[in-house]
């Protein structure tokens, strides 16, 4: 049924319809409303046969989920940002053990500097952990991806992370079609583990593996990911047939067929990009968009196919590897560079730490990619004046102080001047 609902609440409702048997809850902004919502549903009795466990940390959240998943229970948790880093060791373990846990990541920046707002730094920090990573464009997709994620996780016995832009989606209220229990049950059968800790049939899970077998175990992990692409597409097709809307899959193509310039992006920014693309196409610009839904495993062949005709590919990263640039751009570059006539890759870093990505900025960026392409990462809307002043300060004094505090001081001075001007105008 269509409802006007906050993204987090919609996700909680749909996760509950997936009948998780263990939920490990620990609060961290901006994910908290999801586990709070699930807690309400368990308390009200809407979600039955579920252990809702208030754990003492993120490390405990995922450790408990590992235990319950190994014991054969459908297990769920959610986190964000520093919370994901705090559970990092368990994140790798869940993947290495092949346990089908589903975790929502309310995407948020990682400190320092401390920042509670949205970007993809957390997901990117653990992109090599072996989890599948799916990125939601809307709250409808955020809700839907959880149904797909449980099915995918359990078919392959892999953990799946559903990445949802913090605040921009988690705290936004929009219409979401909440499916019925029957619809979800028909799509998602009860969990049948490929490995389970069962006293009646004892095994051990988590062997120490030496140099003689480590590569092989790792290769099997790689093999499972590299052979998952068809399944991910099939599950999206089946979802669309059962639920009557498109969610999930490897990627979505928006006008790439004839496009000279193709943009590649993940998450909620895709909506804004589509609005800009509609305007630019109306002005005659040859531009399209690839919305990457599945980031891990990285759909190299699907990208090669959809981008084969593009002359320019502009990759928008919502995170920064300070020693390299945009991680998504690097991945796209690697996927495309052996094409017979590979497109030029342009990298843009946008929306770090919650900075809004506006239509006006994207408009400028896309025009620039066609008319005046750049080398290296382009920092969208970088305040060059502030950066310049701080670089100048560093050049002048050895003890120039902490960067974050210095930048805030410069901005504070500017704001105070604007405030004074407003007061004087008002009087």
């Amino acid at each position: 049924m269509l409802e006007q609902i906050e993204g987090s609440k919609a996700m909680a409702r749909v996760i509950a319809l997936c009948r998780p048997q263990v939920i490990c809850a620990y609060p961290i902004t901006p994910q908290t409303h999801i586990v709070e919502g699930l807690g309400d549903l368990v308390r009200e009795g809407a979600l039955q046969n579920c252990e809702f466990i208030n754990v003492e940390s993120e490390f405990a959240a995922l450790s408990v989920a590992i235990g319950s998943s190994a014991a054969g229970a459908r297990s769920y948790t959610a986190t964000a940002s520093q919370g994901l880093l705090f559970m990092a060791e368990a994140v790798y373990n869940a993947a290495g053990l092949g346990l089908p846990i589903v975790m929502t990541l309310g995407n948020r920046a990682i400190g320092a500097p401390i920042n509670i707002w949205n970007d993809h730094s957390d997901a990117m920090a653990l992109r090599e952990s072996g989890w599948f990573q799916l990125f939601a464009e809307t709250n409808q997709e955020a809700a839907d991806l959880h149904v797909i994620a449980f099915r995918l996780a359990e078919e392959l016995s892999v953990p799946v992370m559903v990445c949802v832009d913090g605040f921009v989606l988690t705290h936004a209220m929009e219409r979401v079609d909440i499916p019925t229990q029957q619809q979800v049950d028909a799509y998602l059968p009860p969990y049948e583990p490929v490995q389970v800790l069962d006293p009646a049939d004892p095994i051990s899970i988590g062997a120490m593996v030496g140099p003689d077998a480590f590569t092989e175990v790792r290769y099997l992990q790689y093999y499972k990911q590299q052979t998952a692409f068809d399944l991910i597409e099939d599950l999206a097709a089946e979802f669309s047939e059962s639920f009557g809307r498109a969610s999930g899959g490897l990627l979505r193509d928006y006008h790439c067929g004839d496009a000279e310039l193709a943009v590649v992006a993940m998450g909620s920014v895709n909506g804004t990009i589509k609005d800009v693309i509609d305007e630019l196409r109306a002005e005659g610009m040859s531009i399209g968009l690839v919305t990457l839904v599945t980031f891990r495993p990285f759909p190299t062949r699907a990208l090669q196919q959809v981008l084969a005709g593009a002359k320019h590919v502009l990759v928008i990263d919502r995170s920064l590897d300070p020693g390299m640039g945009g991680p998504l751009a690097s991945n796209v570059d690697l996927a495309l560079r052996n094409l017979l006539s590979p497109p030029a890759i342009h990298s843009a870093i946008a929306g770090l730490g919650g900075r809004p990505i506006t239509k006006a900025s994207l408009h400028r960026l896309f025009m620039q990619a066609m008319e005046k392409p750049w080398e290296g990462p382009n920092f969208v809307d970088l305040n060059e004046k502030v950066v310049g002043r701080e670089l100048h300060r560093r050049a002048r004094a050895r003890r120039s102080g902490p960067a974050a505090e210095n930048v805030l001081k410069i901005l504070e001075t500017e704001r105070a001047a604007a405030f004074q001007a407003r007061i004087e105008t008002a009087e």
Binding site: W117, F167, M173, V269, G271, D275, I357, K359
Partner: protein, 196 residues
């Protein structure tokens, strides 16, 4: 697509106002999106929330930069920040104040938008009278339905009851109706405040 920006302070129900407005539009079968400005919300700190209403799926996720309607829940904000930034020249302005626009130095702003597009409403006083709490959000939404025809008063009242069940909902409904009627009477009399 209609874009609304609501300014207020933490504790005044700014985010809830945007959400209720989106529910009202949803109940009329329209697409609507409401979201906060994502600050660390503290009582008294400036808060901004946004609402977009349209007849097609709303894909745009940027904050509302050029509002068609600006609702200001706390008139002291005009000095603290550039509340009016981006207000479209055909825009509407709804301010919670018991004073006139000239008393709060907004004459020039009111003159920039079409006649009849600005209204000053004593929403805090109405809220105190009807809800016994200084929460001006529902009164302003009631006033909003008198100033514009984007959503009906009935839809806003239905949204209020979804947010505040029981007696609290009824009290908020009274505040919304009172503000709606007050603004309707201002408009009928060609005024923009209670005193002018």
């Amino acid at each position: 697509m209609i874009q609304v920006r609501i300014h207020g302070r933490g504790g005044q129900g700014v985010v809830t106002a945007a959400e209720m407005l989106s529910v009202a539009a949803f109940l009329e079968g329209r697409h609507a999106q409401a979201f906060p400005s994502f600050g660390s919300e503290r009582t008294g700190a400036p808060v901004v929330a946004f609402c977009r209403i349209g007849d097609r799926e709303i894909r745009l996720r940027e904050p509302v930069q050029n509002p068609d309607i600006l609702i200001v829940q706390d008139a002291t904000l005009f000095k603290a920040l550039d509340v009016l930034e981006g207000l479209s020249k055909d825009g509407f302005l709804l301010v919670n104040t018991a004073r006139g626009f000239s008393d709060i130095h907004l004459d020039a702003v009111v003159a920039r938008i079409p006649a009849g597009h600005a209204q000053a409403v004593p929403a805090t006083e109405l809220a105190l009278a009807h809800i016994s709490r200084p929460a001006p959000n529902t009164a302003l939404l009631g006033a909003f339905t008198a100033l514009t025809d984007i959503v009906t008063l009935d839809s806003v009242i239905a949204a209020i009851h979804r947010t505040f069940p029981g007696k609290l909902g009824e009290a908020n409904e009274r505040a919304a109706r009172a503000a709606h009627d007050l603004v309707s009477s201002h408009i009928a009399a060609g005024k923009d405040t209670a005193d002018a």
